[in-house]
Subunit: 197 residues, 2 copies
């Protein structure tokens, strides 16, 4: 950030710019994400925009950061709530939380996952994965009975990646032959079968 907004109106302006950035991404895709367009949609002049954002990427960063932060928050909260629980119910609930979080902003997920030059988005998403992976790894290490896999870290990597991949693709592609409940059943079978194999 080039300058911190001090008065109320400038704080609102920064907010409007971020919202407009998100709107442009959803409505017209990344190609249309030009600084002038974002400024127009925000009802703001390009000059004003550049008083608070050093460059175009900075706007994008805020939009992306907010998105993944929201998803991470929901999943981590659900996982943390159930860290004392045991077995299949916990897996199902967490997967459900992830699905819900991804479904909440499907249009933005589409742009973020399929259209963006994802350097920045990757970092954020990797952070989310690491966060969840560590929770899963400590959980597995603490309860050997839940897993026959020798290395908790590796098992956590596999589980998180598989579940995340399935969730994202299901939300984005909406395959007609798998309902939401079926998907959760399949995830449960996948994770359970793997850990106890």
């Amino acid at each position: 950030m080039r300058k911190t907004p001090r008065q109320a109106r400038s704080r609102e302006m920064v907010e409007r710019i971020v919202t407009a950035g998100r709107a442009v991404l959803i409505a017209d895709g990344y190609d249309a994400f030009s600084t002038n367009r974002v400024a127009t949609v925000a009802g703001v002049s390009p000059g004003s925009l550049y008083q608070y954002f050093p460059d175009k990427a900075a706007i994008l960063d805020v939009v992306i950061d907010r998105y993944w932060e929201e998803v991470a928050e929901r999943v981590a909260a659900s996982l943390a709530d159930r860290i004392g629980e045991f077995g299949p119910a916990m897996v199902r609930d967490t997967a459900d939380a992830l699905l819900t979080a991804l479904e909440a902003d499907r249009e933005l997920l589409r742009v973020v996952a399929e259209e963006l030059p994802v350097q920045r988005s990757r970092e954020r998403r990797a952070a989310l994965e690491r966060r969840v992976r560590e929770l899963v790894a400590t959980y597995l290490a603490a309860r050997p009975a839940t897993s026959h896999r020798p290395q908790a870290g590796v098992a956590a990597w596999v589980v998180v990646l598989a579940v995340e991949g399935l969730a994202m693709r299901w939300v984005l592609d909406q395959p007609a032959f798998v309902s939401r409940e079926e998907l959760l059943d399949e995830m449960l079978a996948l994770v359970g079968g793997y850990l106890l194999a």
Copy 2:
């Protein structure tokens, strides 16, 4: 294609352009993928380039199509060879073939998977997935003993997605805590445990 090259030299030129496009993508990333740059690297004038390619995207399409076609060819071939076989060995061999195919051009995979506005790439990758998924589905349907999952189509979707996701991420991220052999073991446990859960 705007015009079909008739003489040998023009066919060579088209070839040089595609090769240059791939080289630019790998060396400098998608941002540097400008028509003038590709033409320069190919040792060709922009005008010549536009005699055979209608626009910039067309060059990119050929590069991407060739890449996924190569991967699909290898995996499908390996799978088709082992369609008569049975059980774990087949899974392992196919996953191995996928890994090898992805490793063969890791730099291009990185650009294609992480940096490209992937509309076109997605279609191609989806085609590869569909191809493999159908092979897996018919295999599962024909041999009920290998799977306790009630719906072969759903099971194929889950298996292909999970294995592909793990393979891509492993090749791209090269996580230090999972060796290639370990990865194949984990994939086997994942698929085997799921199908027989």
